[in-house]
Amino acid sequence: MNHFKFLVLIINGVLYAQSVTERIEYVFPEETPVIQCVNWRVASGDSIRWRLPDYNDAHWRLHPGFGLWVNEGVKGRDVRWYRKTIFFPEPLDSLATLALYQIATVSASEIYWDGILIARSGIVGKSREEEHTGASGQIFPVPKNLATPGKHVIALRVSNFHSFSGVIEAPLQLGYFSAIHENLFRVMALSLFLAGVFFLTALFHFAILLGHGNKWPYALFSSFCLACAVHIFIRGLLRYFQINLIHYYSLAAVNDIPWFLMLVLLPIFFLFEFNSPYKKRLTVTILVVGLAVVLFSRLATFGIVPVSWLNTLDSANRLNVYFTIAVSIAVALWALFQRMRGSLSALIGLFIFLIGVYFSNRANVENGWAIGFAVMNMFLTVSLSRQMAFQNRLHHEADLRSARLELELLKKHIQPHFLLNSLNSIIAWLEEEPPVAAQLVNALADELRMLLSFSGEKLISLTDEIKLCKAHLNVMSLRQDKKFTMTVTGVTGTEKLPPLVIHTLIENGLTHGYKEKNSGMFRLSCVHGKKKIQLNLFNDSADGQSIEGIHDGTGYRYVKTRLEEAFPSSWSMTSNPVDGGWEVRIEYEGAMK
């Protein structure tokens, strides 16, 4: 386990150090079925006498029994003895087996019980050649004849020539075999369960990413979950499986990578998901700080960075955890004030995570932080799902709106009323002047062809729109036996706009402005600004007569909806009487492709 990262142990270390002087003896069984053997006497060097129960170790240094050797200001490469006394006031359970459990104790270790060697992990040696590395996660039974009532001395002879720093991951544990085993099983089951939760969430968000290609923050969250899963899984492995200690320390070092990713991906995900200000600068900061702290800490345990920095780096690690949580909470708070969807569940999740960290520190709850993570994860998943559902609904609504617009457009212009009136006029012309009837049929066909080809488009070129308008004016001229014309200025041919916008305005003009006139003139002028395109449609309608209500008519509503759809919030339309007629002015940002 990465001792320096897990606040649990750092805090525990402090707590044990405080109680070291108070009690040297251990009483078994205590209130807990498994006791953590802290408060040892320690000495560097090697002597066969140090195993004996009656050896006086009072002058030896006090030691919690775990931690980094290099952190104690001594060399990592060393042979050492640890001694402690325990006391059994009563005979032990004759059917149960007493056992000792050590997670990972430097490179090699021997355990003496009242001077008798009862366990060995690897071979303790005075040099790299003599020493053979042991394994992690070993449970050693204490022979029944030795576990008698009264005082006992446990002596630990350890050597470290294969790992640089010399680390005892956790205090030696003493208890009945079944209780130790049960504890380990509980830790492993929880680790696997949590790893599974994170792994599935990672898969879930990855699947979402595949389904919604443009939601790349989901990739961050998916990676975050995957990092959590891997980190917790490796932690579980290290606890439960007997792994050669050389590999054990390498694996622990490798586990820095998911840990680093966990720390950085969460705040970065929040930054991008909620599109917070300064997100790029903050991302770089988080990455640099995270990488520096994790990398330097690990390098220090290998002596590449001065070992004396370790205490500072420990604090930096702790601060870094809080820094990433703080950034995440700040972003979520900001998002909440912006009333962003999902910000509340994110915030609640983060606070639950914070509580998890707090409990795992204070109450020494194994994996408490991971449980906090899992709960937060659940909240975030719920929040993301809700956002996704919301976006799906928006998409769906937009699709529906588009479909409805197209339908309305077709209905409006190819509706029976338009066709039937045209047919009626064709009959009239057939009876009066057949050649004109043929002209009208052709004009109608022109207009219908264009209507059918434009109606499905979101944007068409202004040139096409003008062609359509002219075709329509042609039809209406023949239908009403009047002369409607259209002149165009300033059109370059690059302008785009939603279909039938000008057409609809012309139709409105025809309906409202030419009751008693024999001819009509429409003038479209196009003005290119820096960013914007301005279209002015003038008509010389009769008397600028009251056109009240037409601004809310279906025609105007259609134009407004289409403009908003194509140029969200970056268009305007005014409609006013002017000298000699009526003018509609449309402005929009024409930079759109």
Partner: protein, 234 residues
Amino acid sequence: MNILVVEDERVAARRLERLIREILGDRLDTIHCTETLRNSEVFLKKHSIDVLFLDLNLNGQDGFDLLTSAVSESFQTIVVSANTDRAIEAYEYGVLDFVPKPFDKSRLIKAFERLERVDAHLDYTAKMLVVRNQSRLRIVPVEQINYLQGAGDYAEIHMHDGTKLLHNKSLEALLKILPNTFIRIHKSYITDLNFIVNLRIYGGGKYECELKDGTVLPVSRTRYKKLVNLLEPK
């Protein structure tokens, strides 16, 4: 016969006028075409007409505004429109006929037949009568009418609640647009067949019928036999 055509499309108006002239020949006294709603109102203030041909898609404004006003007048209204989806609605308001565009001459002839024949039954009939009361228009649902009494060129509508309203149309004109259960029982009376509860014969060729609410109306001799035939199956 005096006719007004309200049609905003000049070509269509021209054809309608030509066809009407062909159909009616000498029977046509005057025909006038207007393009706008406003002009038709002005014309109607000065001239009396027998039939109004009305394009329901009147310049985008709701043609029903004019329709409501038109059906309250003494003349019959025939709608000529491409908006066939509003045909039934137009009938319910009490138009005599709805000629869907595009139409041919024979359809127009049929419309005139409905106008001129007494016993022409319509597929769709009025569900309401629009009564002009000074300048206000009042819509009277048909089922609230007890009986109608002729009063010169006008008709008095007697309602179930006892109120009386004066309609600009004559009894003949109203009979054409009312549901088929409304029948003429007397030169001056129309009532719903379903309201008649009793028929009485007095000496000297005097006949009467009693309605559900106790009202007694005179029945003419010629119409008595018809009435007996109609009521017999009950």
